[in-house]
């Protein structure tokens, strides 16, 4: 008897919830009138059909927020990119080098780089995020102090490097030596943490398009990171965003730069393989 009631109510759920939901919109994103962004596309094979289509978080934001991202004069992230431009050319550390000493013009040398990160680093024998890589250059090649993870200068530089891949498809490798880290990230993605016992998948896989209180849930991709968040009036890093979501499950979070969040970053990034790099994007 009870069992029957249960099946009926879950059948109702399946049919009513999507009808209520506003879902992603059908707008198109062209930045500066020239960079055409792929914001919806076929899900990569390694998602095994869990999402029918992958959709950028941009589609779940208001028209006003969307608008801010379509023009670099309106995108508040660009101030931070300018700061990074300066850092790029500034000599620091014992070797007397700036980034430009080795990489010259970022607008040429950094094209396509962000699209492939996080990525296996042979020398280090581990997966590197873009920030790990930049810090390796700072400590090993410049003789400079590493930048704090997800803090000002590191994020600004990540935004600058990302900006030179805008419009190119995210394409991180998940096989070969990165496979183990990717698996670890996947496991974290599906783990129900904290007193609320919620996994990333509960919100971003099973409920994207639905509202949770006032928030319109997206698929939680990171093709737009680092992202300018209007709510914080600041540039927010990928791993800081993850920490916020984990904290909201009433769980103990992981530290930025920790092996767990590096693995999660690789995994989440791979879910968006095929979407355009949008970083630095604008979200609310």
């Amino acid at each position: 008897m009870m069992k029957k009631v249960l099946t009926v109510s879950s059948a109702l759920l399946m049919s009513t919830v999507p009808a209520l939901a506003r879902g992603p919109d059908d707008n198109t994103l062209v930045v500066n009138g020239e960079i055409e962004m792929v914001t919806k596309t076929e899900a990569p094979a390694h998602l095994d059909g869990v999402l029918p289509e992958i959709i950028s978080g941009w589609h779940y934001r208001s028209e006003e927020t969307q608008q801010l991202q379509s023009d670099d004069f309106e995108n508040p992230s660009m101030i931070f990119v300018d700061d990074a431009e300066e850092a790029w050319n500034t000599v620091e550390g014992s070797s007397g080098n700036s980034c430009a000493s080795c990489h010259e013009d970022a607008a040429e040398s950094m094209v396509g780089v962000s699209a492939t990160y996080p990525k296996w680093n042979e020398e280090a024998g581990q997966v590197y995020t873009l920030q790990n890589q930049v810090n390796a250059c700072r400590t090993e090649r410049m003789g400079a102090e590493p930048w704090a993870y997800d803090a000002g200068p590191a994020l600004n530089m990540e935004a600058l490097i990302a900006s030179h891949s805008r419009g190119m498809p995210v394409n991180v490798a998940i096989d070969g030596p990165a496979a183990e880290t990717w698996e670890q990230g996947r496991e974290i993605y599906y783990t129900r943490y904290g007193q609320l016992e919620l996994a990333c998948s509960n919100c971003h896989e099973n409920n994207n398009g639905n509202h949770i209180r006032a928030d319109h849930l997206s698929q939680g991709h990171i093709n737009g990171f680092p992202t300018y968040r209007l709510r914080n009036a600041a540039l927010i890093g990928t791993q800081s965003r993850f920490r916020g979501c984990i904290r909201d499950t009433r769980a103990e979070t992981f530290a930025t730069g920790s092996p767990e969040l590096v693995a999660l970053e690789l995994y989440v990034r791979s879910r968006g393989n095929g979407l355009s790099v949008e970083g630095p994007a604008v979200r609310n």
Binding site: Y193, Q195, N202, H211, A214, R250
Partner: protein
């Protein structure tokens, strides 16, 4: 007489602290369908308080996931769970108590959090601080708050 003292005490102590009379979260008796027959506090629930708990972000925050027509004075009702209009006609009080205390006993693997559960979590936190918490954690709602919410839900009858 005893009962009224208990309710005064639990009002004074506020959330999370079980009064002498309430059933400990680890001792709640769920039947095989997830229902809980006995009151958790021994004190009848107050529907008006239950409505406030459901709206409050710091308490139940139930409307984060559920739409409830009669609670529309509070903004932003979510779409993650089913609308709760008329839910008092769909479940008995014991079944409702089981769903609010720990919905996973009724719906295996549901996304709905357990509101009267204190241990067995993965990386339990100290509230919303992101820092480690130590089990047993205080339950999200106290025994009396669960009873209040159940009392409110039972007033939501199908037209």
């Amino acid at each position: 007489m005893r009962l009224s003292i208990v309710s005064v005490v639990s009002v004074l102590l506020g959330t999370g602290i079980a009064s002498a009379e309430s059933v400990d979260p680890t001792e709640v008796q769920y039947d095989e369908y997830g229902a809980v027959e006995a009151s958790l506090s021994g004190v009848p629930g107050d529907p008006a308080s239950g409505a406030e708990i459901m709206k409050s972000r710091a308490k139940g925050n139930c409307i984060a996931c559920h739409e409830v027509e009669v609670l529309k004075d509070a903004p932003f009702h979510g779409e993650v769970g089913p609308a709760l209009n008329g839910v008092g006609s769909r479940w008995s009080e014991a079944e409702m108590r089981g769903i609010v205390a720990n919905a996973k006993m009724t719906y295996d693997g549901t996304m709905m959090p357990a509101f009267y559960k204190t241990e067995g979590f993965i990386r339990p936190g100290d509230g919303y601080t992101g820092k480690a918490g130590k089990e047993p954690l205080p339950p999200i709602l106290s025994a009396q708050e669960i009873e209040d919410v159940v009392a409110f839900l039972m007033t939501l009858k199908e037209e």
